[in-house]
Symmetry: C2
């Protein structure tokens, strides 16, 4: 075998990056793997648009079947994103005996289980390095590099937009809205940033990391998801004073024989390596039993960064195909010690809580009385100077307590007449 | 092919870890790769010693030829360390058609070029993930995960002992000697810590990272190496005041069409992710053209950590062998834009300099006069309060200057009557 044929579906930003790399590194890649990677066809619904790379007209089509039905194409690269028609394309590619490379975290998070099953059935592979952390080779590292390990937890800053906003708020002392506006201006946030700032994109990636580390697909509805839109500069500043940073963390971790899978703003210790991840960077922190704690860090976006991961996947598949190895090379197995998912109500966590109260005697007593009733004990209290007339922030760090108890206590506290705004509660993570 | 046979040479700490993992994860690995990994023979000069794992007596031998001459053994794992006889064992293994896994950075740094050539000639592979950063899958990440990238530089904290000592000095305000003593007590430093604290071990690993990123083997004598034994608490504290951390950094980076390869204590900005790497941890920071800057972080030592990497290599080779792919799967190519090595005299760097001078008028004028004569300009000066009677430390941050000029200027300054101790000069790195 002297060459391998690729069909690319999706000639957008990352697609253009893939084309650029395959053009400019054609010789390099051929020398490295001894096989020429030939881009045989590119499909996009808009083939007239200007793009940062030039390709021969004959390569372009608007009909995906020209790729999917071509028996000469070995690998289909899907970069259109979204669920439909991407899912149909992937299924058809696998049914036609092709290997698949995709960066489509939403699709894999939603239909991954069925797609990976189909691939196994057909003896084909789905590679998806670009779907988490763009060019950071996290999937390869966990799947192959840590092949003999069992995992206790994976903790990721996997959404660059949210991390950029939180970093900007922390470093430049600006509001959430100002930071979001700046992120849009810089092109780091989309016009509708909902998926990013509300944690959905992080949840998609977390589902894939959970699959990698624990061998099971959880569905989006089983992931507790809370975004960053309620985080205020006040909380970032208070947290900092107490030695914490606020990050949007995607967490999957074992809790005895259960698995917790959740995305939410999280206080992490300032000296933890994840605290130093700023801007649009991503980082994935993995706790494994043989190696211990590992961190993988890099830019979470960028057309060439994601394209670098796609090309690495193509190279891996090319090596497999060249070797005549027409079946998945490395099975992902379920961690059989895990008996199910832990519901968010049942998780135990320390908490940062900010109450906005009237500046009156007895307020602290009422609040701590209710917390005590639910068996929640207070690790530290700081009553801040008032900023609004008559309203004082009280910041508490709570000892580990059950989520359900916290929620019920806060409900009662929020009803107190002396409490002015709804309490802000942010989980603390320090088990890593 | 249902099984693959391994011969292990070296039943020490890491060797025991490999045996333990192959015993305890036998079923897991078999399910993942569809092939059983069988440990057929273990060779060590001392087979009577107590070890943390139990093996059948019949598995043990003191004669390496029982492994090397056995046509039934597919992969030889070499974990004895040192140059001789390890090199002979590796050569013989390759000549006998076996693949090799090794953690031996000293051997690969010294004889890697010849060994890799021999492997290529024989159509066999040498895998060496455990040789840099123990269980951190840095070699796989760079070689496979970043396969399409070209590299501008690699910057590593790759010696856990040195990093532990520097961290302890910084965090607990103790002297180099006290920190070294503590490291020995904890088992993080050997009785003779020379290779670690004088930068040789880092240089060995740097040679391998340079090979990975730039495709060329440099020899140890071409690597500028300076250890940490001259670093004083004074400098760590002054550096911290100015916003820097001192780390023993292994650096290989392109400088126009030349390559700089050096190991030395280095001031890095406090907010750089490498600054947060403390204790015996290792971290490798890679700057690549497609992805940008990446950091890989984890424990730099530990029997199971290194063994995890060895087993990952065994699995990779098993997959290759299973596929009938009896030749290296991924060539490492020389970066042809590099025309040679830049001698240390020719490198340009910013500098931190500490002079210990008499507390007299005109001292600063004499020093800055000499610096000026060599075209070296001063970015900042801090004259510290005296600690010893009559002696004041003057701390300078110099603008970028050629190493040769710095050296000549310091020689003249050291001869001044008002200068009491030899000036301490530490390079600054902020190009990453």
């Amino acid at each position: 075998m002297k060459s391998i044929n690729i069909g690319l579906i999706g000639f957008g930003t990352v697609g253009s990056g893939v084309v650029k790399i395959l053009q400019e590194r054609r010789k390099l890649l051929k020398e490295k793997i001894g096989v020429e990677i030939i881009l045989k066809k590119i499909c996009d619904k808009n083939i007239a648009a200007n793009r940062p790379v030039k390709v021969e007209k004959g390569l372009l089509t608007t009909n995906a079947d020209e790729i999917l039905d071509d028996p000469g194409i070995d690998i289909v690269v899907e970069l259109i994103g979204g669920i439909r028609p991407a899912g149909e394309f992937l299924r058809k590619a696998l049914l036609k005996g092709k290997h698949v490379v995709t960066a489509n975290k939403a699709l894999l998070a939603e239909e991954g289980q069925a797609l990976f099953n189909l691939a196994r059935e057909k003896g084909r592979s789905i590679y998806f390095e670009a779907s988490v952390g763009a060019g950071i080779p996290i999937i390869k590292a966990v799947r192959e590099g840590l092949v003999a390990n069992k995992f206790q937890g994976v903790f990721g800053i996997v959404n660059g937009t949210s991390n950029y906003i939180l970093s900007l708020m922390a470093h430049q002392d600006c509001s959430f809205n100002a930071a979001l506006a700046e992120a849009k201006k810089k092109g780091y946030a989309e016009a509708n940033p909902f998926l990013d700032i509300e944690g959905i994109d992080s949840a998609h990636k977390l589902i894939l990391l959970t699959y990698l580390c624990f061998g099971r697909f959880v569905s989006l509805k089983d992931v507790f998801v809370e975004g960053i839109s309620r985080i205020s500069l006040l909380d970032i500043d208070y947290a900092k004073e107490l030695g914490w940073q606020i990050k949007l963390l995607a967490i999957a971790k074992k809790s005895k024989d259960k698995l917790e899978v959740r995305v939410h703003p999280t206080l992490i210790p300032e000296e933890h390596p994840l605290s130093s991840i700023s801007g649009i960077n991503n980082a994935i922190y993995v706790h494994s039993d043989l190696v211990g704690s590992l961190l993988f860090y890099g830019p979470g976006a960028g057309w060439l960064s994601a394209a670098s991961a796609v090309v690495a996947d193509i190279v891996d598949l090319t090596k497999d195909i060249k070797a005549g190895l027409f079946k998945p090379t490395l099975n992902i197995l379920p961690d059989t010690s895990i008996k199910g998912l832990l519901k968010i109500d049942e998780i135990e966590s320390r908490y940062y809580i900010r109450f906005m109260t009237e500046d009156k005697p007895g307020v602290l007593a009422s609040i701590s009385g209710i917390l005590g009733k639910f068996g929640i004990s207070i690790a530290s209290v700081t009553q801040k100077e008032r900023k609004k007339v008559g309203v004082v922030p009280i910041v508490m760090i709570l000892h580990e307590a059950k989520e359900k108890n916290i929620r019920q206590a806060l409900e009662q506290i929020n009803k107190l007449k002396v409490v002015k705004d709804e309490a802000v509660a942010i989980r603390i993570e320090e088990t890593f």
